[in-house]
Symmetry: C2
Subunit: 420 residues, 2 copies
Amino acid sequence: MREYVHLKFDEMPKFWYNALSDLPFNLDPPLDPETQQPTTPEKLLKIFPGPLLEQEINDVDRYIRIPEEVLKEYAVYRPTPLIRAVFLEEFLKTPAKIYYKYEGVSPTGSHKTNTALAQAYFNKISGTDILYTETGAGQWGSALSYAGIKYGLKVNVYMVRISYLQKPARKNLMNLFEGNVTPSPSKKTKVGRRYNDDHPGSLGIAISEAMEKALDKNNAKYSLGSVLNHVLLHQTVIGLEIKEQLKKLELNPDIIIACHGGGSNFGGTILPFVPEKLEGKNIRFIACEPESCPTLTKGEYRYDFGDTGGFTPMLKMYTLGKDFVPPSIHAGGLRYHGASPIVSALLNNNLIEAQSFSQEETFKAAKLFAKLEGIIPAPESAHAIAGAIKEALKAKEEKRDKVIVFTLSGHGLFDLPAYI
Amino acid sequence: MREYVHLKFDEMPKFWYNALSDLPFNLDPPLDPETQQPTTPEKLLKIFPGPLLEQEINDVDRYIRIPEEVLKEYAVYRPTPLIRAVFLEEFLKTPAKIYYKYEGVSPTGSHKTNTALAQAYFNKISGTDILYTETGAGQWGSALSYAGIKYGLKVNVYMVRISYLQKPARKNLMNLFEGNVTPSPSKKTKVGRRYNDDHPGSLGIAISEAMEKALDKNNAKYSLGSVLNHVLLHQTVIGLEIKEQLKKLELNPDIIIACHGGGSNFGGTILPFVPEKLEGKNIRFIACEPESCPTLTKGEYRYDFGDTGGFTPMLKMYTLGKDFVPPSIHAGGLRYHGASPIVSALLNNNLIEAQSFSQEETFKAAKLFAKLEGIIPAPESAHAIAGAIKEALKAKEEKRDKVIVFTLSGHGLFDLPAYI
């Protein structure tokens, strides 16, 4: 029978959890690409509003209150359900108990709104009128466009050209939510004008275009959908709700899994559980990424640029190099060459594990899940399913009824052509 | 704050409600188009399996048990949530309490799986190997394909050609769930061969093709997604769950609303409440349809053919005439020229009301709902939203805190181009 753990609105977290205050090590600071010295607040304030910059560097406060205005918008779709994958368990004949946290119920279909709404709010109260951002397949652009309506900000999205042409549904979703979408590279920026009209584009170029625009106007800022500390902070609503839901089930998690692209849904999921692990509890955190963009499993842990044009601060992170161009894979949301500095540091300190999966394995997991559980997962999220299945089969071998929890970060209704 | 009324699996209805046993009038029987006499069971058994035929004519049993095998598949996504539209209420500044029953959580995104699963099951146990059906924009075809996997039946779908070309996403969904899709008119049937290769197609032609195929083989049957009594029977899970959920809220509904195309989601929603109305309770049932296909508001109540080729029994229903061709509107699911005989009889006896809405009004309602409540509705379902908004504004004028419940029959993630 379907087990479905709901939280009432009262039980929704009213605070984000700030992992920076608990990490047993210091993070290396972002560096200014021009000086190779720690980047200055003045420079960062040109692209981020004060409150978000504060959140980026605050390593003192353990919990940061979620503003009422953000809670109200979270309430449209949160708390999200924790669902027991009974049919998957049955099929795998595993003694393990598998639960998934389903973020696909969000208005734009993925966990991205958890940070888009917060970022739009903090920008609004700081006097920002326009937000610039980039998007690959469109998940992030959709989320920020939606957030823009909620708080009355204009949202301009630079969309990687090949995705702009291949994914009209996400483009339409952005337009429905009144986002302005420009295929990148475009003629609107110096960076963009370096490329031919038919260049397929890349995330690195799109980030550079969005940042160039944001730096150009006083009332415009830039917004990033993953990687940064404040983004992971916002995403901790995921892990905090999972904690509450597991409490109701009187269960302790043995393994927590999420897919990993930039680190936002993975970080949001596991960070609230890190203190327990540091206190000695036996929990494994597994980040699942594509073999074709193996940032955590094959990258180097060093400082690197965040974009092609060199506008962004350099971050200490696992990286495949800023010029890495992943093959044309479908899991568009996991194509970034770098990773969250927090997640990277945790990996470097052996507090988390990383595993990579082939596209074949991932799609197989996605189709199986769709047929058994009735939800079509996003290709990105399907990496987590592949990881969960792997651990569930291990549990079967070991004859142990482990509790496996994974975050299903989004639905794949716009990605059907990929699955066929 | 978001109110979200969930039922546990235990509280899910274990029986369908059979309105035929309670209606205060007899329905006129289906007629054989060749003889214009009541159609014989033998003829009907060529297209429907015994159990479904039984359900079609049973006017004795008040409740019909849902088989365990069907309950198990319902459990993948049911019970579905009843959600209070707090943000819509706020925006409209209405004292009314608005609740929506959200069927869009189903594996194929609409209420259609409620009957697709039941029909596939009853066909399977009756020895059917292959199901033939038609589909317009693809909602029904997707649902039946999904059901086909669950019970091990081959599903062949004749899809109206213009939709086949315009809605690749739904075609992909059918393929993901292993349905075979043929654009209609096709060269595979006598009926289809009458038309040119470039004919846009219609539901009437597609039904004829599917039926011709089903009549051709002993182990093949035909499956209809709306209109018929057994379909409405299956859909009563919607209304029965709403009853339970309203009980938990200790509320009585004043107005119950649903969109109307063939009558399945409307019937499924309101039929369980009809006995209360017959006992004197003051409840209004409002069917909302498009102005461009005004079957209930402008049709004639008489016997008519169900399809172009004259294969289907003639039904006593509100109809625009079997040759009615609606203008190219986006709400593909509401284009049928006829209506459920049960719903038609209720309308003729003034037990329900019907209202029509322009496409402009409907889309406006859809976009408003998407922005406020965070769910993108199917264009069909948006007619119900338009109806609910209309009644909520009336309640504001009358200063009355009426309880308005509507069924949101599906999500519109595949219909975004229509909204732009």
